[in-house]
Symmetry: C2
Subunit: 354 residues, 2 copies
DNA sequence: CTGAAAGCGCTTACAG
DNA sequence: CTGAAAGCGCTTACAG
């Protein structure tokens, strides 16, 4: 079927294509009557400007790309957390794109591949997106950031591991959130609080651990080395950590696992050991993943503003608030910190008396 | 930064742009030596053909779009199932796109909106994707299908509710899968098997229920009306259904919930009622969602080949195996049925003796 | 306020 | 096997 073009609309409205263009782009300097005629013709013909043509002729592509790690997605497509985090980001981004007449392109990036430079370079050259949303580990990938800067493509780093790095970023305060969870446990009366650390390569893991330690210190609570167990953000690692913690002679009365998958593992280990939650041990997680509500008891956890982060990043990109290339480097640094939320559910309670 | 164009490459390689075009598109009729020169120049310059220009000049856009329901995504972005199903589809599609140099565009469609016709029409006109992957409920939306046919855009219906409808489709056999689950329970020795029906508007709900009934009949097992409870695919509905089933005077020894969320609700209700799973009652689900492995006990369920379905659909679209518009209507009907897998886990066992 | 011309970076159809 | 010309459907820069 031959498509309807700007010429068809112009002919029907008896104006030049330039006027049609003005109307379609909401540009000024069109008499209301002309606008009416054009709109009418466009409507009647079912006209919608061709994106490729607009993109080729103009300076905007109406495309926002989101970079997602290929290995992470593939490895964890079965894992609750991975999929959920990324789909929330995509939801936020798509929502904002749709409202603004933009389109969201999902690009799988192989961050470990030797040819990443070429791959990403080709992507940017071929697509010329108006903006790129970087999800971890893209948010911290030096090559990706360099190519983006070189191409002059605006981007936003979502939840970067190194919040001090360069470039615009939207994230939340992992340190403060972990501190608040620990505070919450301490306020319930817990003094022996165990902690399960996340995957060590994730910056968030260190921030959360530091938040835990800071709260313990602020409360004047001592921390035994045995109370801190290394995990890797998986259910299994939480399970193993809890098994060890619960076997301690003077075991903790609360365990704070620094993500929900691990907290679920803690719950499972407790059930197997016949330890009541929260009667004998309180358990807290981090993420507010869907399964945090499907578990028994439901998990006390931290809700990350993931959808909101993606929405904000997308809006900033669409509105042109983020400058690319050299202009971006000159501009005022952008650093948006979004509020988290502590979700109190049934897995935390005061410690057993005696 | 001024981009590298086909002219730059042609100049450097000392050939015409047409030759560069031939090389970039792997067309025949280029002497190896010329090809070498062009490749070298392209490499040196970091050239990658501009997608918009290719799309505008040629007949291909190198874009595959996936249609996703807006309301469903928003309502269920917190729900395990919704997000997981869709992110698996996206994973499969993105994977195949990347391998073929295609790009995946995610479009949120508001299927309830009165202006859906205009919205989708505009989308197709603006994007001119080489193919569209339809996820439920797009797979069965008459307006979407009509517009796609009118635009001549090839599409694949993923897991359509009405498997008998027109157009190419990729799906799995819900009837056979539900039958197999029921068979599995019957083979374990269960005779009183309860069933929790899914959201009635989903075609899959009816197919699964029919599979359950067929297996019961084939086994010569009677089905009491009280054993079949209406659910809506949510945890809560599974919980409520199980509460009623477990309160029955001669309660079922097995409960087959037709998705995992509901099965998780059944598990929770059993735990609250002090009924052991699988000791006193067996529980089976459907979907193999991530939480099916995080539950205690882990769920016996059906693994849907969602990633595979998306991969197949995307490949068919990219390879041009699916024809659009009138050509599609003339072509041989495409109906790909992918195999499911019954996953035996700890939630099902023989019924209690006596 | 409106429009005629040029051009974005490619592919198509054709010529040699 | 190679290339010169035309054109895809828009926007930009400019003229009036």
């Amino acid at each position: 079927m031959a498509s309807v073009t700007i010429y068809d609309v112009a002919a029907r409205a008896e104006v030049s294509i330039k006027t049609v263009s003005r109307v379609m782009n909401n540009e000024p300097n069109v008499r209301p009557m002309m606008r009416e005629k054009v709109l009418e013709a466009a409507q009647a013909l079912g006209y919608s400007p061709n994106l490729s043509a607009r993109s080729l002729a103009g300076s905007k592509s109406f495309v926002i790309a989101v970079f997602v790690d290929a290995a992470l997605t593939i490895d964890h497509w079965r894992s609750e957390r991975g999929a959920d985090y990324l789909s929330r980001i995509q939801l936020g981004a798509t929502l904002q794109c749709r409202d603004a007449g933009y389109h969201l392109l999902v690009e799988l990036i192989d961050h470990e591949a030797p040819q990443i430079r070429q791959e990403v370079g080709a992507l940017l050259a071929a697509l010329k997106p108006d903006g790129v949303i970087l999800t971890p580990p893209s948010s911290d990938n030096a090559i990706v950031l360099e190519l983006l800067n070189k191409a002059g493509t605006p981007y936003v780093r979502l939840g970067p591991e190194e919040p001090d790095g360069p470039g615009p970023r939207v994230h939340m305060d992992n340190f403060a959130a972990a501190r608040d969870v620990t505070e919450h446990l301490a306020a319930l009366g817990h003094k022996r609080i165990g902690f399960v650390v996340g995957e060590p390569r994730h910056g968030a893991s260190q921030a959360r651990r530091a938040g835990y330690l800071a709260a313990m210190e602020a409360r004047g609570l001592s921390v035994e080395e045995a109370w801190i167990r290394q995990g890797d953000f998986t259910f299994q690692s939480g399970h193993d950590a809890a098994k060890a913690l619960l076997a301690l002679p003077d075991r903790p009365t609360a365990i704070f696992a620094s993500n929900d998958d691990m907290a679920l593992g803690v719950l499972a280990a407790a059930a197997e050991a016949g330890v009541l939650v929260p009667g004998e041990v309180s358990v807290a997680g981090f993420d507010d993943s869907p399964s945090a509500r499907f578990s028994r008891p439901q998990l006390t956890t931290v809700r990350q503003p993931v959808v909101e982060m993606a929405e904000l990043a997308t809006r900033m990109l669409i509105k042109g608030q983020v400058k690319g290339g050299a202009a971006g480097a000159m501009a005022e640094p952008i650093d948006e910190l979004l509020p988290f939320e502590l979700i109190h559910r049934a897995s935390t309670a005061p410690p057993p008396v005696g």
